[in-house]
Chain length 496, copies 2
C-alpha cells in the first residue's frame, strides 16, 4: 500500500503543477499576444500567482508532510519524485521573502534601464541599477552557499544545474580553453575565400511560417499539442500538453528564423515527450537547463546544420520561397556552417559560441565571489574578447557587456548551461550513432526517426527521474566529456 502522506504530498504538487500551467500560458500570452496596455494588470496577476505558489510550496503543511513521509515505503520512481519535491521546497524555503521581493523590484528596474541604456551605449547610466542587482545576487549567493556548504558562485550555478560542482565545471571549461582558440582559427582559415552566396529577400512571413511548420512536422512536433507563433525573442513556453514555441521572421533573410524554429523544436519535443505518468509531478519535468539545451542543440546543431539535413532542406526551401542561387545545396551547407567570430553571442556560429560563454562565466564568477566590481566588467570584457576571438570591443558597450538581458534580473550561473548543452548534444549524438549504426544513412534518406526515438527513450522519457550525471551515464556510458564536442567540431569544420 502506498504511503498516504506521500500521496498528500503528490496532491499538493499536482495543484502546483496546475497553477504553473496558468502562469505558463499567461507568460506566453504576454510575449506573443498581449497589447501593451495590458502589461500592468498582467504583471500584477503573475506576481500574485508567484506569491500563491511560494506560499503553497513553503506552507507548514508541506513541510509537515515532507518530515512525515517514509521513503522506505516508496518505489524507486516515487523516491525520485520525493527527492525533486524536497529540492524544490528547500529551494523556496531558503530565500527570505524580503530578499525575493527586493530582487524582483531591482530586476524590473535594471531591465527597464537596460532597454534604454543598451541602444544608447550608456554603460554609466546602466551601472546604478545593475550595482543593486549584483548586491542582492551576492546576498542570495551568500545565503545559498552557507546552506549548501559550497562556494557562492557554485550555489547560484546549482539553481540551474542541480548537483554540478564548480570543480567539475572547471575541469570541462579548462579543457575547452585548451583547444577552442586553435580549432577556431583553423576553421576560419579553412573557410577563407569560400564565402557563401547570401539569400536574397524579401521573404514573406506566411511562406516562412509554412516552411517552418513543415520542418517542425518532419521533426515530429505534434501540432495537436502545440503551436508556432511570433515574438520579439524566440522561446519555447507553454506546458507539455500544449507547447508554444515562437520565432521572429526577417524579410531580408530566411535561415535565421528557420534554424531558430529547429532549435526551439528540440526544446518542444523534449517537453511534449516527458513521461506521461509523471506529468503533474516534479519527477516529470525536464531535467535541467543544460539537458534542455542539449536537446535544442541536438536538433539545431547536430542535425539541423549537418550537410545531410541541409541538403534535404533544399527542395522545401524552393517550394516555399522559390529558387535562387543561395539555395544551391553546397551553398546551403556553407551558409549553415559558416564560422565567423563576431561581437554578439546570439548571432555566433557553433565554433565561436563557447568563447562567448567562457568570457561571461569568468566575469560573473569573479563578480559574485567579490573579486571584481561592476566597474571592472568592461575592461575584463575587452581583454577576453581580444584574447578569445581577436576582436576589439573597447567603448562598444551595446555590442559588448550590455548585449545580454540575463544579468539584468540576476540570472548569474545560467550562461554555462548553454555550452554544457552543446557538449552534451555532441556526446548524445555519438552514443546514438553507436547504438544505431544506420542513423546517419537514414537521416540522409530523409528519415530522422532513429535519432529522435533514441532521444525519446534515453532523455525525454526520463524526465527528472534520474539525477543529471546518472542520466548522462546511462544514456552514453560515461560522464559528461567535452572530447565528443571537440571531435564533432573537428569533424564538421576541419575534416568535413
Amino acid at each position: 500500500m502506498t504511503d498516504t502522506t506521500y500521496q498528500q504530498l503528490e496532491g499538493r504538487f499536482t495543484r502546483l503543477h496546475r497553477y504553473a500551467h496558468l502562469g505558463a500560458m499567461a507568460g506566453w500570452d504576454q510575449l506573443t499576444m498581449m497589447p501593451t496596455g495590458g502589461n500592468e494588470a498582467r504583471a500584477e496577476a503573475m506576481a500574485e500567482l508567484s506569491v500563491l505558489m511560494h506560499e503553497t510550496l513553503t506552507a507548514p503543511e508541506t513541510r509537515r508532510l515532507l518530515a512525515a513521509v517514509e521513503p522506505s515505503s516508496l518505489n524507486e520512481a516515487q523516491q525520485a519524485n520525493l527527492r525533486e519535491i524536497r529540492r524544490e521546497v528547500e529551494d523556496a524555503t531558503i530565500m527570505p521573502p524580503s530578499l525575493v521581493e527586493a530582487q524582483s523590484l531591482a530586476g524590473a528596474r535594471c531591465e527597464k534601464a537596460w532597454r534604454t541604456c543598451r541602444p544608447n551605449n550608456d554603460w554609466e547610466g546602466f551601472l546604478p541599477t545593475f550595482r543593486e542587482v549584483v548586491r542582492l545576487s551576492r546576498e542570495e549567493a551568500r545565503i545559498r552557499a552557507e546552506a549548501a556548504g559550497c562556494s557562492r558562485y557554485e550555489a547560484l550555478l546549482q539553481k540551474f544545474e542541480p548537483g554540478l560542482t564548480l570543480e567539475a565545471l572547471d575541469d570541462i571549461f579548462n579543457d575547452l580553453r585548451q583547444w577552442l582558440p586553435g580549432l577556431l582559427s583553423e576553421a576560419v582559415e579553412r573557410q577563407r575565400g569560400q564565402d557563401p552566396v547570401l539569400p536574397q529577400g524579401p521573404f514573406g512571413e506566411a511562406d516562412q511560417r509554412r516552411l517552418g511548420e513543415r520542418v517542425m512536422r518532419w521533426l515530429g512536433f505534434d501540432f495537436e499539442h502545440g503551436r508556432l507563433d511570433v515574438s520579439l525573442h524566440p522561446f519555447c513556453g507553454g506546458v507539455p500538453d500544449d507547447v508554444r514555441l515562437t520565432t521572429r521572421y526577417r524579410s531580408d533573410e530566411c535561415l535565421t528564423a528557420l534554424m531558430g524554429i529547429i532549435h526551439e523544436t528540440g526544446h518542444a519535443r523534449y517537453e511534449q515527450n516527458l513521461p506521461e505518468a509523471w506529468r503533474r509531478q516534479p519527477a516529470g519535468r525536464a531535467r535541467s537547463m543544460a539537458v534542455h539545451e542539449s536537446q535544442s542543440l541536438s536538433f539545431e546543431m547536430q542535425l539541423g546544420r549537418s550537410a545531410a539535413f541541409v541538403r534535404q532542406l533544399r527542395p522545401w526551401l524552393i517550394e516555399a520561397l522559390g529558387d535562387q542561387p543561395a539555395f544551391d545545396a553546397d551553398n546551403l551547407v556553407r551558409l549553415s556552417q559558416q564560422v565567423r567570430p563576431g561581437l554578439i553571442r546570439v548571432d555566433a556560429d557553433e565554433v565561436s559560441y563557447p568563447a562567448h560563454i567562457l568570457l561571461r562565466y569568468d566575469i560573473e564568477r569573479a563578480l559574485i565571489e567579490g573579486e571584481i566590481e561592476v566597474e571592472d566588467i568592461p575592461t575584463r570584457w575587452d581583454e577576453a574578447m581580444q584574447h578569445l576571438l581577436g576582436l576589439d570591443t573597447r567603448g562598444n558597450y551595446r555590442d559588448g557587456c550590455l548585449q545580454d538581458i540575463h544579468w539584468t534580473d540576476g540570472s548569474f550561473g545560467y550562461f554555462p548551461t548553454y555550452s554544457l548543452g552543446a557538449m552534451l548534444a555532441a556526446q548524445l549524438m555519438a552514443a546514438a550513432r553507436q547504438a544505431e549504426p544506420q542513423l546517419d544513412a537514414r537521416i540522409a534518406e530523409g528519415d530522422p526517426s532513429l535519432l529522435l526515438e533514441w532521444l525519446r527513450t534515453h532523455i525525454w522519457q526520463q524526465g527528472s527521474l534520474l539525477e543529471t550525471p546518472e542520466l548522462i551515464t546511462r544514456a552514453t556510458g560515461e560522464a559528461l566529456n567535452p572530447e565528443y564536442y571537440r571531435r564533432h567540431l573537428r569533424a564538421r569544420y576541419l575534416e568535413g
Copy 2:
C-alpha cells in the same frame, strides 16, 4: 479613518481579481489559440483555479472579516462594494466545492464533445456528456433554490440577473408573447417582394478584419487594451485592461461578421470603461448579463443596423472589399434590416430573435424543473420552432438544439438575458435621445460620440455601484419596460 477590516476584505478581493485575470486569459486562449490536445490539461488547470477561488471566497477568514466589518464606517461606494462582496461570498458558500469542480470538468468535456458532434449532426454522441452537465445543474439548482427559497430555475436565473424573479420575467415575456408573432408576420409581409441584393464573395479574411478594426476604432475601441481574433463562436473575453473579442469570418458573406464585431465591441467598450478606481473590486465589474447585452445591442441593433449608420458604412465597405450592387446604400439598409425567420439564433434578425429566446427559455426551465429530460429536447425544439417561426427543424440537430454553446457548460438561465438586454437597449436609446436631442443628427453626420458618452456616463462608469433596477431608473427615469422595445421594432420595421 477607513475601517481596516474592510481594507483587509478589499485585499482578499484584489487577490481574487488577479486570479480571475489568469482564468479569463486561459479561457480566451482555450477558445482562440489552444490546440485540441491541450484541452485536458487546460480543463484541469481551470478547475483548480475555480477551486482556489472558491476556497478564497469561502475561507473562514473571509467570513470573519464580513461579520466584523462596520458598514456605518464606510462611504457610499464602499458600502456598494461590500454589498457585492457579500453577494459573491454567499453565492460561493452555497455551492459544495466538489460540485463546483465536477461541473467545471463536465463542462469542459461536454464542450469538447459539442465541437465534434455539432458538425456531425450527432445528437446521440452529444447526449452522454450533456446528460451529466444537466444532472449537475439540477443539483446546483436544487441547492440554490433551497437556500434562496425560490424555484429551481429562478435560482439559476439569478446567477446572471441578481434580483430578477421568475414572476417579473414571465410578466415581461408574456407581454412579448402577445405582440411578437403579430409584429413579426406584419414585418415579413411588409418586406415581401423587396428582397435585397446579396453581397457576392469571396471576401478575404484579412480584408474583413481590417474593415472590422476600422469600425471598432470608430466605435471607440482601444486597441492598446484589447484585440480582435477568430473563434468558432464569437465572444468578448479577457479583462478590462485587455479585452479580447472574437468573430468568425465567412468568405461568401461579409455583413454577419461585421455586425458580430459591432455587437462584441459594445460588450468590449463597457468592459474597457468600467470605473478605474474600482478596477480590482466587485463594485467595479459589469452590472449583469442583461445590462451587458444591452450594451452590445445598443451598438449592434440600435446603432449598427440603423439606416443612419448603415449609410456611413458604404464607403468603408467599398474601400475594404471593392464595390458591388449589394453595397448600394438603400440595399445595405434592406440587408441590415431584413426580417427572415431562420433556424440559427446567432444569425437571427432583430424581430425573430426573441422567438429563439422564448423557445430556449421554455425548454431550459422545464429541463431544470425536471418536467422534461434531455431526450425530450429535440421534439420540444421542433414544436416550438414550428409554432413560433413556422420552420421545420426535424432531424437537423446541427441547426437545432446543438447550435448553441451555452448549455454545454450548464449556463441555464442565461438565454433570457439576451432579450432583456434588447429591451433595455431600446429603453436606453430612447432616454439618450431625450437627453441629447442632436444625437441622431450627429450620428447621421458620422459622429456617434453623443450616444457613446451618454452610455459611458450612465452605464459603463457605474460598474456595479448601483443595483440593476436603480441603475436603469437613474439612467432612464423608469423601471425596465418592454414598451420601448415594441415601439422601436414598430418604428423600424412597420413604420420606417
